[in-house]
């Protein structure tokens, strides 16, 4: 039995609000019946404004990576030229999937910690005549960097008006504005365990009319991930295969809560929590990993100081109830990550920062009690547009 509920500060799965937890514990229903049909309709319709689209959305029982695979295999044929723009582990994964299915992938790698540069994307697309698709990561969970998708999509369009633009927004969508239709994006993938405040298990995928049309020509093999089957079943209030009903309950409830809060408030809360996390970690002496100009609104990465015994420090932090994430891939052991997405509150970020401060003091690091919390408070207030007296910032 747990003595307390940890402050889960990993970049997904995110903590579940109480009513979402309750939803996950509901009894099963017939997934071919009217109650499920109503729920599916609420979800697929309710997600559209967050995608910024009027096109059809599909829901598949899979992790986000299965959603990325769906984006690839539904729209391409072996031999298709693809530009894979990567700014971290998940960008590498997206490109890898395309290669596994026989696409002719040109990688464009940004230095980890930085966003992709629109002019470099434009140059690479220009140097790839006949490019079928460009793969972009909206929020790169492994580095805590958020790409400017509107700018990158415009760069692609300038050189290749017909190229499909496929975007991994597993850890971004729902937490920040996204305008798929306005930006000319063709496929966007998101996952239930991120901004949607639910357990993992469902990927939601929106496709533009151009992408839906491309699926009729694409010859990469697919069955379970065939988006057309999901769209057609959804038109009858069903999924083509038995869905993760417990998670469907949760996403339905998560979306209800998001509707109550409203998108502007959700986005502002993520901005404020991100600002607080960056300011607090900086004040604790941690060097942030991401270029400040491209810092993610949903996860903040920081370097592990060379003089810090991370395992001991993180153990102390965890004993105090704060669960952080380590680095991934080549960043394993070199960075740590603090998630702030989904149900996150300012209180949880201040709590995490104060616990890191406490652990820093306990381990003899040169920090001033309360200073990091103060910095986080001020940053959050300023993000909310609240003027903080200069005296309070000393």
């Amino acid at each position: 039995v747990d003595r307390f509920e940890p402050n889960l500060r990993i970049p997904g799965p995110t903590a579940l609000p109480p009513s979402v937890r309750t939803a996950g514990g509901r009894q099963m229903i017939n997934h071919r019946g009217p109650e499920f049909a109503a729920m599916l309709e609420r979800i697929l319709t309710g997600m559209k404004p967050f995608f910024g689209t009027t096109s059809d959305v599909a829901m598949i029982t899979t992790a986000g990576s299965g959603g990325l695979e769906a984006a690839v295999v539904n729209t391409m044929s072996p031999g298709d030229k693809v530009v894979g723009v990567s700014i971290g582990s998940f960008g590498d994964r997206f490109a890898k999937i395309a290669g596994i299915y026989g696409a002719d992938v040109t990688k464009l790698d940004a230095e980890w910690g930085y966003a992709a540069a629109a002019d470099e994307v434009r140059e690479t697309v220009r140097a790839t005549p006949g490019v079928k698709a460009v793969l972009l990561t909206h929020n790169e969970t492994s580095t805590g960097v958020m790409n400017p998708i509107a700018d990158l999509a415009a760069a692609v369009r300038a050189e290749a008006p017909d190229a499909l633009i496929l975007v991994d927004s597993v850890s971004g969508l729902g937490a920040v504005p996204f305008e798929m239709d306005d930006w000319g994006v063709d496929i966007v993938v998101t996952g239930s365990q991120k901004a949607w405040m639910s357990a993992p298990g469902l990927a939601m995928i929106a496709a533009s009319p151009r992408a839906w049309a491309a699926m009729e020509q694409a010859t990469m093999p697919r069955f379970y991930l065939d988006l057309r089957a999901h769209r057609d079943a959804a038109a009858n209030g069903q999924t083509p295969f038995t869905p993760a009903i417990a998670v469907v309950y949760q996403v339905d409830e998560g979306l209800r809560l998001m509707g109550e809060e409203g998108a502007p408030a959700i986005f502002a809360r993520h901005e404020a929590c991100a600002a607080a996390a960056r300011a607090g970690l900086s004040a604790l002496g941690f060097q942030l990993f991401a270029d400040p100009a491209a810092a993610s609104k949903t996860v903040t990465a920081a370097w592990v100081p060379e003089d810090l015994d991370w395992k001991a420090f993180n153990g102390e932090v965890k004993r105090r109830g704060v669960v952080l994430a380590g680095g991934q891939g080549k960043l394993t052991g070199k960075i740590f990550r603090l998630g702030h997405l989904g149900s996150v509150t300012i209180e949880e970020i201040l709590g995490a920062i104060s616990t890191l401060e406490f652990a820093s003091l306990a381990s003899g690091r040169p920090v001033t009690p309360g200073a990091a919390v103060a910095a986080a408070q001020v940053a959050a207030l300023e993000a909310y547009g609240v003027a903080v007296p200069a005296a309070a910032r000393a």
Copy 2:
């Protein structure tokens, strides 16, 4: 708000026991942490006796159909000769998946309602020299037929000692005995929402040493469903992609309950419930769809009588709290199905039969009050080996 909990008598998802429901409502944890690792280890180890194997088991966040796709794409290469033995919708699906990925599929179709005949399987395999794999369905959910896998596997082995035998046991495993290693079966797929008493969302897949070796040669493309990635991550207490944690909680709890009850008691309960369902439906005047010699232990299908207004009748049954499943594919509207797997109790089957009896009386069908329930009771008792006095059977 629901006034009562329905008697969910569809062949999956099955009703969740109270503690499994509670497990589904738990807060999220870090899926890269020790608590998750311990849970994954319990599940993958705890499932082995039900598979009847000492080989590695993999767990993937997907519906059962994704598990079937994993069985195909991990073991085969385009052009491989495959025999797809089908006795219903799910056998057709298994063969269809192999074809989509480029296998050279020979179908062997049994008449729906019957098991596959071992001599026909043997003949088809003999007529397919160099066959790479044979696809079998253990329990065909669409028809309520259970195949004799031991006999069919022996028939395959007699003609093609090196062929891989891939078995869909999504709706069979855990409810009835299965001896994968003894029978020489190479891949077995099951799903969380069936005998495991959990929500849908996880497929568990066991592979023989021969199947694991075949994966190194197989060239069908796969990423999300690559079983080797799942096996390798599991060796480190993880999944390669974020798992459906809420469902993992449930399967962990479901397996704990199954351990308490014990496999012999679980199998006997399914035998008794199946016998009660068949006897009760027959006594109500419904003609059973499946060959009695091959009747499933987890789902019973019956013809919709030509003189019955099924929609009205089923509506009455549903209002009384019993949820049945309709037919699938070409059997839509022609049969109905009553599921008895997972958490099912004799009480639930007797309750369903008595409600069908009640609805039959209400709709003027020629039934004797209590007679169908009596038949179901006697059948269940006899399945349990309890002698019923002849007088009680009158």
